[in-house]
Amino acid sequence: MSTRRNPMEPQGLGHALETLGAWVLALLWILPLAYAFWTAFHPPEFATRFDPLAPLSLQNFVNAWNAAPFASYFVNTIILVTMILAAQLVLCTLAAYAFARYAFFGRDVLFMLVLVQLMIMPDVLIVENYRTMAALDLTDTITAIGLPYMASAFGIFLMRQTFKTVPKELDEAARVEGASALQVLLKVYVPLARPVYVAFGLVSVSYHWNNFLWPLIVTNSVGSRPLTVGLQVFSSTDQGIDWSIITAATLMTSAPLLIAFLLFQRQFVQSFMRAGIR
């Protein structure tokens, strides 16, 4: 072969197979979503029957919207994920900076303790967390849903690993120029870790957008409950499942996340790739 090719790029049969594989995976991934779209926009009779001429209808969305106070659930969910993410970013950045760049007594033991948190399922701690919230007189508030998640072990670990990859020379150069510790963090480390922040933000927001059991248990009223708790009204176990209404409600509640992902898709994918290369 005389032409120059990227040696990593597959050719011939390999290329065809890889494209086929990608298409199959993409189709499998989109299938549930496509089904949700089909069911949500058609009357219930067509929930399990495919007929391209079936009449379109928005009635499912109307029914779903009226079944629960979704407007306030939306507001609560948005407040919740923003609050958690903001607190996580501040706490994790500071903690990770200390773990990555300062030598202090007991640092490794402390870091181990943080890592231990990663191995415990949050669901196990429900009773203890509830007791804490009750003692703080915080039950039935949005703060109570978010508080246990704010010091995220995963976030600290991720940021520490990222900060460790920043060349020491940059740090030293900044200090020679007279930057304080906080300035070094904000001007050197944080900008370099931006892709990781984006990736972490995505994971955090989607996790807390979808979190269900803890919010259900610690809250009691419409004023503090998130979307997932509202959605649960539709899973009527005694009666079988009304797919039309449940898919409409699901689309409605996941729409903001889906749209945001489509809009910022490029940034997300790029930041994940960069975060991976490091």
Binding site: A67, I126, R131, V233
Partner: protein
Amino acid sequence: MLNRTVRKVAVLAAAMLFAGGAPAQGVEISFYYPVAVGGPITKIVDGLAADFEKDNPGVKVKPIYSGTYQESVVKALTAHKAGEPPVISVLLSTDMYTLIDEGAIIDWSSVAKSAADKAWMKSFYPAFMENSETGGKVWGIPFQRSTIVLYWNKEAFKDAGIDPNQPPENWKELVDYAQKLTKRDASGNVSQWGLQVPSSGFPYWLFQAFTTQNNVVLMNKDGTKTSFDDPKVIEALQFWVDLSRKYKVMPPGIIEWGTTPKDFFERKIAMMWTTTGNLTNVRKNAKFDFGVAMLSSGKRRGTPTGGGNFYLFNKSTPQQQAAALKFVQWVTSPERAAQWGIQTGYVATRPDAWNTPEMKKYAAEFPPAAVARDQLQYAVAELSTHDNQRITKVLNDGLQAALTGAKTPEQAMKEAQREAERLLRSYQRR
């Protein structure tokens, strides 16, 4: 938060003012309830609370939606352990022993002491009380209760040459009809199954119908012993397994509970077993003439009851308990029980509810509504023991292993019994 503290102080001050004064003044009773059937249940419950408050000024009822039954019991027990449980909660009747073992509830009999109160506790169908009493005390008040019934597609019966108004009377007819109703094409693919008995989620409940019909009970009255390896239990499981293996009238493997009604509407199945709670759903969505009947009899007729009771949590004040009693008596009164049954499809829990004008009208317009009531005389208590969640899981796993063919019915039930005995050993010594 500050606001809340202020409110607490205010409530405290009010409580001190009224202490010894008129009871049920400024009392708030929180009330957890699960949603297990479709429709705007949360709105119906909010409406009930508002109606009660109108009739009883001074008492505030705060309904709190708490997810499915499983999630509700988790929420209630978590709140109990943290020291702020609800005053009352609707939870599965089978959670009774668990709640007693956790020290979370007090018995209604200790609050409802007057002659009228005692008569009220005796006014429910005895079948529903089986799961609500133990040790001579009443722990649960029946609220949203159900049984299993048979739904059949009359058109499919006609097509198969069976009298559309004659549901199968016994197991032999059940198999016989189901065979006639199962349609296969030339290559052996089934386009319509004769019968579907769901086996996902809580197969033990449907299994109890088979065992009751085979004239055997799964547990003793104290909830300390199970009899999963009784030959009659194994025989009942063999029959369930045979429906798909031997007679080939039911889809093989695990049958999803949630989609069974849909399969019925789509004419993929001609008969199904499911809860009476589905009645309103089937009535609305079946595009063909259908019938509702008691389950076919084996050695006898039988079905377990199911559903939720009111429990009274023990960290409440005497004023709250008095108010809670008033609310529960109000909500289970004949008129309300009838209204709740009509709106949801649950069985109205007491005989006199069926004599109210609304219920009479409803039953006359829609006779299937009365089938579950008539079946109650054959009903038994749903499986409920100490450490109930784990015992039912053991049984469920055994049943599913047998239905998928991973184990023989005998092997599955013997293993389940061994495991259940291990779990219950500590309760038997008490």
